[in-house]
Symmetry: C2
Subunit: 486 residues, 2 copies
Amino acid sequence: MSRPGTPEPALCVQGDSAAGTQDEDAADGTQHSHRMLSFSDALLSIIATVMILPVTHTKISPEQQFDKSVQKLLATRIAVYLMTFLIVTVAWAAHTRLFQVVGKIDDTLALLNLACMMTITFLPFTFSLMVTFPEVPLGIFLFCMCVIAIGAVQALIVVYAFRFPHLLNPEIQGSAHRALYRRHVLHIVLRGPVLCLAAAGFSLFFYPASYLLMAMAVFLPYLSKAASWCRCRLLGPQEPPTPSIELFDLNRQEPLSKERVAAFSDGVYAIVATLLILDICEDNVPDAKDVDERFHGSLVAALRESGPRFLAYFGSFATVGLLWFAHHSLFLHVRKATQPMGLLNALSLAFVGGLPLAYQQTSAFARQPRDELARVRISCAIIFFASIFQFATWTAALLHGPETLQPSARFGGREHAFMFAKLALYPCTSLLAFASTCFLSRFSTAIFHLMQIAVPSAFLLLRLAHGHKEERGVGTVVPRLYLSQI
Amino acid sequence: MSRPGTPEPALCVQGDSAAGTQDEDAADGTQHSHRMLSFSDALLSIIATVMILPVTHTKISPEQQFDKSVQKLLATRIAVYLMTFLIVTVAWAAHTRLFQVVGKIDDTLALLNLACMMTITFLPFTFSLMVTFPEVPLGIFLFCMCVIAIGAVQALIVVYAFRFPHLLNPEIQGSAHRALYRRHVLHIVLRGPVLCLAAAGFSLFFYPASYLLMAMAVFLPYLSKAASWCRCRLLGPQEPPTPSIELFDLNRQEPLSKERVAAFSDGVYAIVATLLILDICEDNVPDAKDVDERFHGSLVAALRESGPRFLAYFGSFATVGLLWFAHHSLFLHVRKATQPMGLLNALSLAFVGGLPLAYQQTSAFARQPRDELARVRISCAIIFFASIFQFATWTAALLHGPETLQPSARFGGREHAFMFAKLALYPCTSLLAFASTCFLSRFSTAIFHLMQIAVPSAFLLLRLAHGHKEERGVGTVVPRLYLSQI
């Protein structure tokens, strides 16, 4: 969006710093962390999502029965996908919090961040090892080593940033309790790794204890939050001593950065849309010999055979695209993201990441008409969960009151009904499709395709209806500007 | 980077609009295009890069000779990758230009943009079809249909945005020649599709003409630019009539948006880093049965067999990470991106996208020691080209003078030598490694591993040397702040 004619292109200005200060910052070696953070977001979101590929690549040949060993393999891989998503999301949340404390970066911090990313990308491998060999301590040991390495790098980042305080968030930089802050942040960064160190020790003689400790390390943020909430409910709100007020502000009430939540979500949606076309390009270009022999040289006939796959591709892309669209509309009206919203959003994204599986199920309609009903239901369920958690994110924002949503989207606001319709469209239709397959099981494929065509049209109709309502006088900006043009 | 204690998290403020205006914008249905653009950037960069996967997945079994048919398949796939990268980059550049004209979006534009993305993601498939069956008109026909569909959607976006002028860039919105602008933008958007329409027609009776027309459609922006440059050189600079001055400003001199170039590059680096770990996770978790039978239940022995792959993974991740780091440092000092810089950057990214191939080559050291020398050379060549084009981007920025680079990075600036060293590190070492394999062909693997260890250490040393120089008094900010802490 740079303006033509001006020599300086539009820069992305962060927070309270003006564009003009960038020159001096670059000169003294510090940099705004914006680009490094969006790179980290992209990397982490792709890592979280890409583990769906081993699931979709599980080969089940038509003659082979869907037997125990295949079931076990598939279940293992789905578990790896979901747990990887969860673990990477937790690591991402920790990363977000860390760089809320560290406001600016320099070269050393950028390199340390790269080391941190490298260790995080290795987590899925150690986790798959752990799932495949649950009783061998090596998997546990490697996983714990990874977590400890991540913790060590993050602790280094904290120590370095507190040694050069101009890198810190301005609020902390000016605070009198900086040493207290440092201890507190180090405590948060290191408690997971310490638990994992204990788990690595236990893995040598009593591995079930290791699993317990590792689960604690992963869920610690949620556990501590739930505990403090319970205590607050039981004992009533307490007045903490003075220095703790600041810490409380920073670490409990501090919302997730809305911008980073959006960037992480964008990464997930983008990689999911791309995984779909990758399958098409890799498997559906017919072989030249094959075309000559089986189809007498007719490429059209060869392509017609994989026709349902293209249909499924466009249907799935439309689903991913419209879910992104709903997410985008939602976050336009969100002012800040609270922790429950972040959790619900992560759950929604985990199911969005499962959409390639839904695509694979629907694209197999032509080849294996046998399991049609089950396939349609799996697809509907994935779409339903992806969209219902999106809806739940909105509900959480609504319930939290004025500071999370903009006025126009709240109860009684102008955009409220429109947002409601946008977000309720996918849960309703997928639920309807699922229910109708129970009664009309013979037409399940037709129902599914009908749904995939109906929803985009419904979005368009919704848009037209809303536009019409606006033009009739509720919103007067558009027609006024339009008239001024004539 | 949101500040603790304040109710509003830091928003990404674009250009001349302040954060406070977002509420009203969201209320009248228009939205800042920032998030939609970064989503499009992520999608397009992943699409461009992901076509390397069919190349790396080409199976060459050890007993099979590297014969003609495999060579042809590999060459076809590499050609598909490079051409896809080029075509997607051209489509991305057109998208960038389009949304320099359209400054804000509403729901309709967001949906139209999604339709545009869907058509672009389908391009690689039609292109692979075209390459696999060069003499069948269907591939050409489908490719042309895709380009025409993209052009039609973009034309719709232009027409819609000019119908509701509050969506336009403020400069154009206030201009008296708006109708002229519209005609001009439509002309740019539609000239490629018109050529493709002709190509689709020719494909039915004389297909070589189609290829010529399609190549013209893809390279038209570069051709027209080169032509205008030649004319300018031959006839001397001409004074265009008044309305053309504005158009000239908009369409020729307008630099690429620096922010979008960075976002596109981030996407490529992120997906490349992720493709590496995907291979590890999919192929290197040993099979439970296999471990029992071949390794007598010892998981360590089973993992030791794929040890070189892990080494190769860490080496490749470090390469991708440090190339990103150099790119990041470079763009911190860049003020605006010119078209030659954009082209050189795209070439650099095309080779970065080839890094998974280099990883695959080096990870095969253990299994097929036969072709070691060739593999090391391929890897060195890919790294060399990726980094030399990065260096060339910097050179182009340097040559263009004061408006492209910040003062500290220009000739004689404080950061100049440091930037030079950072960007020259990879080209020099990879060239050195390539050259030394010619003399010491027996130690080629050792040389390559030495390079992969040496470069990160060199980056660290460089950083320390620079930090030391700064502390000795050239930069005085850091020690002063440090002292103030004590």
